[in-house]
């Protein structure tokens, strides 16, 4: 149970960290923004409180110091500086680490954290006020306390369910205890009922806190003064010295959590820490975690994947059912099938909607990369984001991040010039990288453009010649030259920089994007900049397709790319020397799938031509005949058929046979290639 809450805490904290990072970025641009400072302070505060509550003690300790800093900033006792922002950025990395790993166990890491905290504290020594909170004499668990006699207390805080109803936030209470000295809190959540029984306004948690402090019992009890009526509270001295962190104590805590048995002062009586007495837990009332208005719920991505898979299976089975209904002339089954088809279509749409997540979630990493790299290389870059709220299939986003990071790195490393260089060229010293995402039909386009030096096509051409990729006398237009960047093994840099070489890995970028059925194109102008555009599908696993027959096989063409369907006489195709047919007095280029797939020529009286469009290209695709419209689950072909570019996957039909899914943009591209090379 506690693990479940911990996981939830970690998830929520990630959001907090995310928010923190975002606020920090904004603060960097507007250092006096009170609202942002408050936001950062709040985020730190929640991390600290939550950390203490869920046993992330190192996290809690660490964020406590940062919170103090931002408390000072908020009280105008400390000014925001670039140093402070940089420190906070690295602190965020550390917080992320702590959230992922929990309390540190490695001595080296613990020492690192100490050193880090000292760096944080260095900011505080600039001013002389020692108090961290309004007038509180609090003792921190740092070296200074050795001189003061501290004792260790066991606090048992057993709130009644009504605790939360008059605005009490247990987090604050935990916080205040932690402010008294070194403390470890233990949260018992075994009284928390299953989700459907949880009353948002009730508290179901019980806490025990071990605190080492110089304060008296009364002082400790004062913390709980205004919740006295709503809780059962025990404060017992358990040791004359600081015993927190001792292995024996940790074992005790572990055991208590395991058995959901509250610790009693007796447990700490002798030096023999291992002697844990099993004692009936006191009758406690139910409780917790104040949930806010539930307008959204969190679900693990794994559950969503499962849902999508199940829906996909359902769609497949439904197709089988439809087939059965067609072959059996039973009106009842026919009607039922139709209804099921409607429902599963809706269900499918819903499931996919759920699996979409906003691009926003990844943008922070990009911002961070731009910030860090440009600082490192002394470049001044304005990173502008448009359309960050656009939503995409989470599997697409997952696979998109790496290529995008790579493209951004390229822009920073080799696109944007140093400020002096830019001034010499008559540009603004500050470069701009524009990240833009928008919808275009059934696709999403992500563009990354920079106003840097652009790409020298002549240089690329020479390079390609020296690499033996093209012949010395090859005549290529600009677009074709830029395409060379995607050829495997091409690199415009002999020495690859530690970050990335321009062009290095663009083949990998294209491959990765292709894996998620996307396309990448480059446009560039020397001196002006570069634009990389990525076209992506909205979702990966299910498509609405047109089932067509070519020779012995069946293929699926995605409906989204289909324009019209015509019937043609095969003679018309045979007569055409340049693969163009005339329809409605217009010349229409076509691709004969039989030719593309190396199948024997058409023997039938009539063939059908499906008009397909992709990007700016449009072409007819000749098939034997169109079978019908199908909704299909696309399955990957696996690693061995990766080279099959025109076929992006396969789909299992209702009768168990397989049809292959055609990647229309690749198909159209292949025609262009034929033209160029032929």
């Amino acid at each position: 149970m506690i693990d479940k809450f911990k996981a939830k805490f970690v998830e929520e904290s990630m959001d907090n960290v995310h928010d923190l990072e975002e606020a920090l970025f904004l603060l960097e641009k507007d250092m006096n923004n009170k609202e942002l400072i408050e936001r950062i302070f709040r985020a730190m505060h929640s991390l600290k409180g939550g950390g203490a509550m869920f046993g992330f003690n190192h996290l809690s300790e660490f964020t406590h110091h940062l919170e103090t800093i931002f408390d000072w900033v908020r009280g105008n006792k400390l000014a925001v500086s670039t140093d402070l922002i940089s420190l906070t950025f690295s602190a965020i990395d550390h917080i992320n680490h702590l959230l992922k790993t929990g309390d540190l166990t490695n001595d080296e890491e613990i020492a690192d954290q100490k050193a880090f905290i000292q760096r944080v504290q260095a900011f505080l020594t600039l001013t002389d006020s020692p108090a961290q909170k309004a007038g509180m004499t609090s003792v921190e668990a740092s070296g200074a306390e050795a001189a003061i006699a501290t004792k260790t207390y066991l606090i048992s805080f057993i709130p009644q369910p009504e605790l939360l109803q008059n605005g009490t936030n247990p987090l604050y209470l935990m916080d205040d205890i932690h402010a008294l000295g070194q403390a470890v809190s233990i949260a018992y959540t075994h009284k928390v009922p299953s989700l459907d029984l949880i009353d948002n306004t009730s508290n179901y948690c019980i806490w025990q806190i071990l605190v080492n402090t110089a304060e008296s019992v009364n002082e400790i009890k004062d913390v709980f003064i205004f919740v006295e009526d709503e809780c059962e509270l025990h404060v017992d001295q358990i040791a004359e010295t600081n015993i927190i962190g001792k292995p024996e104590i940790n074992v005790l805590i572990e055991k208590a959590l395991q058995h959901n048995l509250l610790l009693t002062p007796d447990d700490f009586k002798s030096g023999d820490w291992n002697k844990v007495q099993t004692k009936e837990p006191e009758e406690k009332k139910k409780v917790v975690v104040k949930e806010h208005k539930i307008s959204s719920i969190r679900v693990t991505s794994h559950k969503i994947d499962e849902l999508v898979t199940l829906v996909s299976e359902l769609v497949t089975i439904q197709a089988q059912l439809s087939l059965y209904a067609e072959n059996h002339d039973d009106p009842v089954i026919g009607a039922l099938t139709e209804n099921i088809q409607k429902l599963s279509r809706q269900l499918r749409e819903n499931a996919f909607d759920i699996s979409l997540i906003p691009l926003q979630s990844e943008l922070m990493r990009f911002q961070r990369l731009v910030r860090d790299l440009s600082k490192e290389q002394n470049k001044d870059i304005d990173f502008v984001i448009e359309g960050g709220d656009l939503e995409l299939d989470k599997n697409i986003i997952e696979n998109l991040t790496d290529p995008l990071l790579h493209i951004l790195r390229n822009s920073i490393d080799h696109g944007i010039e140093l400020p002096e260089e830019r001034i010499a060229k008559g540009k603004s010293p500050k470069g701009t990288i524009l990240f833009k995402a928008f919808h275009s039909g059934a696709n999403v386009i992500v563009e990354i453009s920079d106003d840097g030096k652009g790409m020298d096509t002549e240089y690329i051409r020479q390079k390609a010649i020296s690499k033996g990729i093209i012949e010395a006398d090859a005549v290529l237009n600009e677009k074709e030259i830029l395409e060379l960047l995607f050829v495997s093994g091409f690199s415009t840099r002999d020495t690859v920089s530690d970050v990335s070489g321009r062009g290095v890995g663009m083949d990998v970028v294209r491959r990765k994007i292709a894996n998620i059925r996307g396309e990448v194109t480059i446009e560039s102008q020397v001196g002006k900049g570069t634009l990389i555009s990525i076209r992506l599908p909205l979702t990966l696993s299910i498509i609405d397709g047109l089932l067509v027959k070519v020779a012995d096989n069946q293929y699926v063409i995605p409906i989204s790319s289909i324009d019209k369907i015509y019937a043609l006489d095969p003679a018309q195709i045979k007569q055409s020397f340049n693969n163009v047919v005339i329809i409605d007095k217009e010349q229409v280029p076509f691709i004969d799938l039989r030719k593309v797939f190396n199948e024997p020529q058409h023997q039938t009286d009539i063939v059908q031509m499906v008009m397909v469009k992709s990007e700016d290209k449009k072409s007819g695709v000749i098939v034997d005949n169109v079978v019908g419209e199908y909704q299909t689950v696309v399955k990957p072909l696996g690693r061995y058929l990766k080279k099959q570019e025109i076929i992006s996957g396969a789909s299992i039909m209702g009768d168990g046979t397989i049809s292959m899914v055609i990647d229309t943009s690749r198909l159209l591209q292949s025609r262009k290639n034929i033209k160029v090379t032929g």
């Binding site: 108090a131 309004a134 007038g135 109803q165 008059n166 605005g167 205040d176 003064i225 205004f226």
Partner: protein, 109 residues
């Protein structure tokens, strides 16, 4: 008429609570100010506890009664106004203000 009284009570009380909150926010509240502050908090919370329920501020009244009781003890010399207590009082007053604001907005709907 009642609405008018309520509005006035709400406004003056919240203002006074905020006033106290600011005093409590100071780095350290000078000991010589303690008696005055204690008196001010006691009087105000006593008022809220008395008048609040009548005007529909039930939650706020309940909370203020706790403060009232505590500060009654301090006034009577039976309890010390420790720094911790000042801190908790500040917390409680913040919650009190929030409760007031919430209850006021609910009533207006």
């Amino acid at each position: 008429m009642l609405a008018e009284i309520k509005k006035q009570f709400y406004e003056t009380t919240v203002k006074e609570l905020e006033d106290i909150n600011i005093k409590l926010s100071h780095e350290e509240v000078p000991v010589e100010d303690h008696p005055v502050l204690t008196e001010q908090i006691f009087t105000l919370t006593h008022q809220i506890s008395g008048t609040g329920p009548m005007l529909g501020f039930d939650g706020a009244s309940k909370l203020s009664r706790k403060l009232e009781r505590t500060f009654y003890d301090i006034r009577a010399g039976q309890r010390n106004l420790t720094p911790q207590l000042i801190w908790q009082t500040k917390r409680a007053i913040e919650v009190l203000i929030q409760t007031f604001v919430e209850e006021n907005s609910i009533q207006r709907q």
